[in-house]
Structures are given as structure tokens and as C-alpha cells.
């Protein structure tokens, strides 16, 4: 019993000290910590590739921190950030995926003098939280661009299919898509799927097929990832409306690129994840050594890939696996 009490006391003490070990200033010998997305997603595998290559190019060591289990990301990411801050880092390179939990911590870090550079997500927040800059896409603009392309191609009623409901950054793409379509005076439908099926292409196919059957005037689909894009193509084929429904997607995969080549897929939008990682380290190197930094938002997307430039993208993909975030 005394043993249990001792453990409890020790735990309480360590929790108490954890709360007060926030640093007073950045440590010049501290690590450079990148808090970024889960490596199970090809997208973030490319981000890490960019980090790694730049780290070698500039001779700057860094540590990549990410969740492995994507079930509780909303609470896991603030925790990872908290742990990183308490290690007295020299600089933090943060993907601000979940602003509600992460933004107050970033403010604490910048107030304590730790330089923070944001990448991928957090494009509307970095100026207020004291970060030195932002590298990445604006998800709203990405979706907006997709809406514009659909409108130009003559889509009358577009479906935005979101396979990860609840992620604000991803949802923002659909918001942008809907906004662009609305401005052009066109209709949209927003569709989600149960979280357990986000990685099941069969389930996504059947879900999109059902929606196409229930709304047979849908003539455009915008998916937020390359895997559901392939499901959307299959669903369109199964309801016998191939060629009538224009499918476009965010992000890339080898299959999606091949489908662009054959003309089944109208476009894919690349936010060039490799650049997000590479430029984060590059800016960190130049900032820490020379005090130099870009002023304002560094945009890496969207780069639209369609039949005009797909061949080159496929070539790069074969020669440098993982760099395009498509495999």
C-alpha cells in the first residue's frame, strides 16, 4: 500500500513539474523539432522526404514528430506540441492541423522566444500567434480553384466528397469548392462517410454510387484525396455515367496520374508537399544562421495537374519515388 502511495505521489509530482517546465527562452543547443503529419499518408511521407533532403543539404539536424495512430489526432497533436516545447528546442517547425488546441501553445512558445515556423496548415493564424512565417497551401483556395475548373468545364451540380469529416483543414477545401460553385450560380452537394471507412476504397465506391443514384443530376465530383478519387471513377462507371460526370481531386497518386493520362480523371491538385518540408528546413537554416526570412505566406499550391503536364509528373514519380507524394 505504501508502495502504491509512493507511486501516486511521484506521479503527481512529475505531472506538477511537467506543467511548469516551460522554457524561458530558446536554447541554442536544443533540437530543431518538426511536428508534422502521420507518415502512413503518402502525402506526409513526401513532406518528410523534403525535410530529410534539406537536412542533408544544409547539414542541419532535426527530429520528425508525428502521431502513428490517427484516431485521436485532435488531442494528440497539442500533446506532441506541448512535449516538444518542454524540450527547450532551438526552433519548432509546426503543421498547425488543430488550431483550437495548438494555437495557445504556439503563442506560449513564441512568447518564450522560441522561433516557430508553420507549414501545411494554419495559414490564417501564423501572423497572430507570433510565428515567423507560413509555407503551404490555402485549403480554401485549393477547393475554390477546383470549383472554378468544374464551373469552366460545364458542371451544373457538383458533389464534394469528404472522407475525413471533422478535420477542419480538409473540410475547408469543400467550403472553398462550394463557394466557387455558388458564385458561378451552380448547385453542390456535400457528402461524408463514417470514419472507419476512410481507408476502405470499396466502402467509398459504394457510398458515392449510392449518392449518384439518389441524385442523378450530379455531373461533377471533387474528392479530397487520390484514393477516393479512384473510388469515384469506379462509382461513375458502375452507374453507367462515364464521360458524363467530371471527376477531379486534391492530392496525387500514381493511379490518379495514370487516370489523368487516359482522360478518366479531369485534374489533380498538387500542393507540393515535398517543398513544404524542404523549405521549412531551408528557412530554419537561414533564419538561425543569418537572421534571414521570407516575408509573408510562401505558397506551395495548388499546382494543377491535367493532361498537359501529367507525363512529366509521372516521369519524376518513377525516378524519385515519394517526392511527389504519389506512389
Amino acid at each position: 500500500m505504501r508502495f502504491v502511495k509512493a507511486i501516486c505521489a511521484a506521479m503527481t509530482m512529475s505531472i506538477a513539474t511537467m506543467g511548469v517546465t516551460l522554457p524561458t527562452s530558446a536554447n541554442d543547443d536544443g533540437p530543431i523539432i518538426a511536428i508534422s503529419g502521420p507518415l502512413s499518408w503518402p502525402f506526409f511521407a513526401a513532406v518528410k522526404q523534403g525535410f530529410d533532403d534539406a537536412s542533408e543539404t544544409f547539414g542541419l539536424d532535426y527530429q520528425y514528430v508525428a502521431v502513428t495512430d490517427t484516431a485521436n489526432m485532435t488531442s494528440d497533436y497539442p500533446r506532441l506540441l506541448q512535449q516538444a516545447i518542454s524540450r527547450n528546442p532551438r526552433m519548432l517547425l509546426v503543421g498547425e492541423f488543430f488550431p483550437d488546441g495548438m494555437d495557445p501553445l504556439i503563442k506560449e512558445a513564441t512568447a518564450a522566444g522560441i522561433p516557430v515556423l508553420i507549414h501545411n496548415s494554419g495559414q490564417t493564424l501564423w501572423e497572430q500567434n507570433g510565428s515567423i512565417g507560413f509555407i503551404g497551401e490555402d485549403p480554401f483556395q485549393m477547393g475554390y480553384k477546383a470549383g472554378e475548373i468544374h464551373a469552366r468545364l460545364g458542371v451544373k451540380k457538383g458533389l464534394c466528397f469528404n472522407q475525413v469529416p471533422g478535420n477542419p483543414t480538409v473540410e475547408e477545401r469543400c467550403t472553398g469548392y462550394v463557394a466557387a460553385m455558388k458564385e458561378a450560380g451552380l448547385e453542390t452537394i456535400y457528402q461524408t462517410i463514417g470514419t472507419g471507412d476512410a481507408t476502405n476504397p470499396q466502402a467509398m465506391t459504394q457510398a458515392i454510387k449510392g449518392t449518384l443514384q439518389a441524385n442523378n443530376d450530379i455531373d461533377g465530383i471533387y474528392t479530397l484525396n487520390a484514393v477516393p478519387a479512384m473510388s469515384a471513377l469506379r462509382a461513375v462507371d458502375e452507374v453507367g455515367r462515364k464521360g458524363e460526370v467530371i471527376v477531379g481531386t486534391a492530392d496525387l497518386s500514381n493511379e490518379a496520374l495514370e487516370a489523368i493520362k487516359t482522360g478518366d480523371l479531369a485534374f489533380a491538385m498538387d500542393q507540393q508537399p515535398y517543398l513544404q518540408g524542404f523549405m521549412s528546413i531551408q528557412i530554419a537554416y537561414q533564419f538561425l544562421n543569418f537572421g534571414l526570412q521570407p516575408i509573408g505566406h510562401v505558397k506551395t499550391g495548388p499546382l494543377v495537374i491535367d493532361q498537359s503536364n501529367v507525363d512529366h509528373t509521372l516521369d519524376v514519380n518513377k525516378k524519385h519515388a515519394g517526392v511527389r507524394g504519389a506512389s
Binding site: 502512413s40 472507419g196 481507408t199 465506391t205 449510392g210 449518392t211 497518386s253 493511379e255
Partner: protein
């Protein structure tokens, strides 16, 4: 009539019929009950069903397997890396993937029977280990976490052939169900499964090789999960380490809807079959209704709760009234 009502699968069959009837009316005019609509929900149910049959048998023997999710992804990546990165023909990589699935099952089984730890925890750990290893090795070998698959005509015929819009997976689901049915209700091994899950000590003293029963079932589960991983990979021309993560809980869910007791020793393969079919109808049918899709999971949860309550009632009926 009462003897039918007392069967473990009654709840699942009744729930399936009611749900199907419900969606027939709720989706009228959208082709849910057409040949192509039926092929749609069968395709979805079949892939889950192939895994759910051995998972159900395992649960009847009193054990869980949560490592199925990552085994599906690992198998698809073995085929993808083998064919795309190393240029190996597809059949040897398929054999390797199936063996890997059985090896994962063997490790699960040995860990559970040697340590007597709850399989819920052991296989949850395996689930993380396998997906972590899959990603780590994929990055190390080819610098990717998903990769294209170079297939062959014969492999496509067995794993991705289609009649109209129905996948060959539906046929494999039927075969898996038939094998499961035969094992559980006709073979001696089936009695051993019930005995192991019903009363472990009694089974052991009666001479049932309970450890072997569990290890074989774990291996069968790993095999089925790998099989589905290969099938998804070939069907979508791509391996992905996250394929199948939804199955971790979907498979036990359909097994429980099918009337299997979480504590083991009770249930039938017919029940698992209809539990899976019910899941396929709900998760596909709701999209044909055109309702707001934010409600999908609420609906699934309510139906799951109702199915479990109904099963509980049926089972009490079976155990008390004569």
C-alpha cells in the same frame, strides 16, 4: 416456430429482413434493390465478411483478434513492393503475403496461450506492431507507404474478376461461409471451438487441445485478413498500409450483430453471415436515401444497439423457456 426463434442467428436474420425492407421503401426509385445496387452492397459486405467468419469462430472460442486491420494493409504492401519494387512475379508475392498473415496469427496465438494475457490487448499490440513495421520497412525499402501493384491476368481472374458489377469477392465470401459452416456444425473441430469458448477448464479436462484450437483459429484469421488485403490491392492496383483499418472494429461488430456472445461459447456462422449482410445493407443503403450523410454513424450505432438487445432477448428465451 419457437425452435427457430431460439436459434442464435434468429435476431440477425430478423434484423436483416427488417432493415432490407426499410431501405427498399426509403430508397425507392434509386435502384438500391436492382441487380447493380445489390452487387454494390454485396461487394462491400463480402470483403468484410471473409474476415468476419474466422473472427467470429475465434470469438466463439473466447478470443479477440484486433490485428486484422494492419494485416490487411501489410499483405497489400507485400504484394505491391514485391511486384513493383523488386519486380517479382505476382504469385510468389501472394504466397508470401498469405504466409505473413498466418505468421502474424501464429504469433498472436502463441502469445495468448503462453502468457494467458487477454487477446484483446495482445492483438491490439500486434495491430500497432504490424502497421508500424509495414510502414517502416516500406519507407526503408522503397521510400513509400503505398505503392502500385503490377498484376497478372491469372491473379486478376481470381481476386478481381467481375460478373456485371459483382466482384469475385462475393463468391469467396460464400466459400468462406460454407467452410466456416461446415467446420462449426459438422466437424469435430467445431465442437472443440464451442467447448473452448464455453468452459475452458472443462474442455481441457475432457481432452480438447484448447491451445491448438486457439492457435489454428488465430492463423485462419490472419490468413483471411491477408487474403482480403491481396484482393483489395489487386482490385485497386495499389497496396496501402492503411487498408483494412476500419475492419478492426467492424468485424467484431458484425459478429456480435450476428448473435455471437462476446464471452464466447455461443453463436453460428449463419448469424455472422447475416450480421455482415446487415452491415453492408445499412452502410450502403443510407447513401441511396439521399439523406444528410452526417447521420450515418448515428444510424449504425442505433442499429447495433438494437441488434444486441434483440439478441440478448432471444438468447434468454433460448436458455429459459422449454
Amino acid at each position: 416456430m419457437m425452435s427457430f426463434v431460439r436459434k442464435p442467428e434468429f435476431g440477425a436474420i430478423a434484423a436483416f429482413l427488417l432493415t432490407y425492407l426499410f431501405f427498399t421503401f426509403a430508397t425507392s426509385g434509386t435502384g438500391f434493390v436492382s441487380v447493380n445496387g445489390t452487387a454494390g452492397w454485396l461487394n462491400l459486405a463480402a470483403e468484410l465478411g471473409i474476415v468476419a467468419i474466422p473472427v467470429g469462430l475465434l470469438m466463439i472460442s473466447g478470443e479477440f483478434d484486433l490485428s486484422i486491420g494492419s494485416t490487411v494493409g501489410a499483405a497489400s504492401m507485400i504484394v505491391a513492393l514485391g511486384t513493383n519494387h523488386f519486380g517479382v512475379p505476382i504469385w510468389p508475392t501472394i504466397a508470401l503475403a498469405l504466409m505473413a498473415g498466418m505468421l502474424i496469427g501464429l504469433c498472436n496465438g502463441l502469445a495468448v496461450v503462453k502468457t494467458n494475457l487477454p487477446s484483446f490487448i495482445v492483438t491490439l499490440a500486434t495491430n500497432f506492431i504490424v502497421i508500424g513495421a509495414t510502414m517502416g520497412f516500406s519507407r526503408l525499402i522503397a521510400n513509400v507507404t503505398s505503392s502500385s501493384i503490377v498484376s497478372s491476368e491469372s491473379a486478376k481472374l481470381l481476386f478481381a474478376a467481375r460478373w456485371g458489377q459483382a466482384n469475385i469477392s462475393v463468391l469467396w465470401w460464400g466459400i468462406a461461409t460454407a467452410i466456416g459452416f461446415w467446420v462449426l456444425s459438422r466437424a469435430v473441430f467445431g465442437n472443440w471451438i464451442y467447448a473452448t469458448g464455453g468452459n475452458l477448464q472443462a474442455a481441457r479436462s475432457a481432452g480438447v487441445p484448447v491451445d491448438r484450437v486457439k492457435i489454428i483459429l488465430f492463423m485462419a484469421t490472419g490468413f483471411a485478413a491477408a487474403f482480403v488485403g491481396i484482393m483489395q490491392g489487386i482490385q485497386w492496383n495499389s497496396g496501402n498500409s492503411t487498408y483494412g483499418m476500419g475492419y478492426v472494429f467492424q468485424a467484431p461488430i458484425v459478429v456480435v450483430i450476428g448473435g455471437i456472445l462476446l464471452t464466447g461459447g455461443y453463436g453460428t456462422v449463419t448469424g455472422i453471415f447475416f450480421g455482415t449482410a446487415l452491415f453492408g445493407v445499412i452502410s450502403t443503403g443510407i447513401f441511396y436515401t439521399g439523406w444528410n450523410t452526417d447521420w450515418v454513424q448515428l444510424f449504425l450505432g442505433v442499429l447495433l444497439g438494437a441488434a444486441v438487445l434483440a439478441n440478448n432477448y432471444v438468447r434468454r428465451l433460448a436458455l429459459t423457456s422449454r
